[in-house]
């Protein structure tokens, strides 16, 4: 279970502060597949980073009673100057996993081949996404945090993700921020719409999508 308890987040802007999230309360259970919807700047990434522990809320707290991946997104998580293998080695050490097992899975899942010997900064977003997914799947988290990046993968990657996350690991939780209505429809059973700093929870995906489209 993950509990977000009265989360507030404000960023410093010039002399004032801009409030992005204002008293957000959410609870996710194992097996929940949460779609995060909202306009650009509504706080989707902020909320995901907060759940992942990357940024600290201005006030409120997060209780994590299951292991939670780092936010899989367009940036962060990797050291650009290091190769794919070096990053894998680092992540294996930090999470206390055996590098050899991790490496085997990552090679097979990412299909990046020789590219894994190149610095991560030379990767395209699709390749980064492959590496991030490969690593976090090999580590086996209870909850996966995905910020947009699933959309940049090619057809082959989509198929693999579907098999690994939605079939093999259907009991895990998932928080997915995306603008792709189809993804939400296909994968999520709960939707959260972020607007004006508030989070509204909808059990009915179609209802949430209708509200999102009218924003």
């Amino acid at each position: 279970m993950i509990i977000c308890d009265s989360l507030c987040m404000s960023y410093r802007v010039g002399h004032g502060r801009k409030r992005v999230l204002d008293n957000v309360n959410l609870t996710f259970e194992r097996g929940d597949r949460v779609g995060l919807l909202g306009r650009n700047g509504a706080g989707k990434t902020t909320l995901i980073k907060m759940i992942g522990g990357v940024i600290v809320p201005t006030s409120g707290r997060i209780v994590r009673e299951m292991s939670c991946s780092w936010p899989l997104g367009f940036s962060g998580g990797f050291q650009g100057s290091l190769t794919g293998y070096d990053n894998a080695r680092f992540i294996a050490r930090v999470y206390g996993r055996d590098y050899k097992d991790l490496r085997g899975f990552v090679e097979e899942f990412t299909e990046l081949g020789e590219q894994l010997r190149m610095p991560v900064k030379t990767y395209s977003s699709g390749m980064r996404a492959r590496l991030a997914f490969g690593l976090s799947l090999a580590i086996e988290f209870d909850c996966y945090l995905i910020d947009e990046v699933i959309m940049v993968g090619d057809r082959n990657f989509q198929v693999k993700c579907h098999a690994e996350i939605f079939e093999k690991r259907h009991d895990r939780a998932l928080v997915l921020a995306t603008h792709g209505a189809d993804y939400i429809r296909e994968y999520c059973n709960v939707a959260v719409v972020l607007r004006n700093g508030q989070a509204e929870v909808y059990q009915d995906i179609e209802e949430a999508l209708a509200i999102y489209e009218a924003l």
Binding site: Y11, G52, T58, G76, S81, I91, R93
Partner: protein
């Protein structure tokens, strides 16, 4: 208790991973970066030693000048490198904060630890290289020397805990750091000994934790050829104070840190 144990395991894993990562990014796989860390103090000790030999004679207050320069320069390099490498360290390593168990304090600890290991290796390297030629004596009290070096390391680490978060808040720190380390040389004990100073001045010199630690290092190296002045509580107390302030600052700065 088990929570504490888990935390300790997780932190030691992180520190180890960060150390290995830092070594690969900094020194790469092919070049001889780590060797430079040892060769640089050696060159300095030899060249400045030769210069001083011509200017002042081969001995300084009864001890060999090359050994004296070497024993002062290694801690000075350690101090300077640690301070500069701590500036903006949170920002530079920001992408690693995506992994929740990685803490900002780990970044500081790892950078200082690497400099400390480099400095220790420089000691050993110089001791062998110049020891064979008879320029560096066998340490009279090795335990004292090690204790002094460890205390010196502790002081630098605690100061880095303050520099790192402050540099994140204001870039003034980065600008004034080189000049302040230069101005601090007289109170660092690097090229002087407390016994050379008149008693009135000595009193003030001994307020500096670096001077106290340097006196211990030199006493351990040269033994009773020199008259040391030190109080081990001074560096310990100063470190505890800086560490406490630093940890509070780190916590504050982490809250507002914008991680891309």
């Amino acid at each position: 208790m088990s929570g504490l144990r888990e935390g300790w395991d997780s932190q030691s894993r992180v520190v180890k991973a960060l150390m290995l990562r830092e070594l690969t990014t900094r020194f790469g796989r092919e070049n001889i970066g780590f060797l430079w860390m040892m060769v640089e103090p050696l060159l300095f000790a030899v060249l400045v030693g030769i210069m001083w030999t011509y200017l002042k004679g081969p001995d300084e207050h009864g001890v060999g000048i090359i050994a004296f320069v070497a024993s002062g320069y290694i801690p000075l390099t350690f101090l300077r490198h640690s301070f500069t490498r701590c500036v903006s360290v949170f920002l530079v390593n920001g992408s690693l904060l995506y992994h929740r168990q990685v803490k900002v304090t780990d970044f500081i600890l790892v950078r200082v630890l690497i400099e400390f290991i480099g400095g220790t290796m420089a000691w050993l390297f110089i001791a062998f290289a110049l020891g064979i030629l008879g320029y560096i004596p066998v340490p009279a009290y090795p335990g004292m020397m090690v204790a002094g070096w460890l205390l010196y390391g502790l002081v630098i680490l605690s100061v880095c805990f303050v520099i790192a978060p402050l540099s994140e808040v204001s870039e003034v720190i980065e600008k004034i750091l080189p000049v302040s380390t230069y101005i601090a040389i007289p109170v660092s004990g690097v090229f002087t000994m407390a016994s050379w100073a008149p008693p009135g001045v000595r009193e003030y010199l001994l307020m500096s934790p670096m001077v106290n630690a340097m006196e211990m290092i030199r006493y351990g190296l040269f033994g009773d050829y020199i008259k040391p002045y030190y109080n081990i509580w001074n560096p310990i107390l100063v470190s505890v104070i800086f560490m406490t302030i630093g940890l509070v600052l780190c916590r504050r700065v982490r809250r507002d840190l914008v991680v891309e």
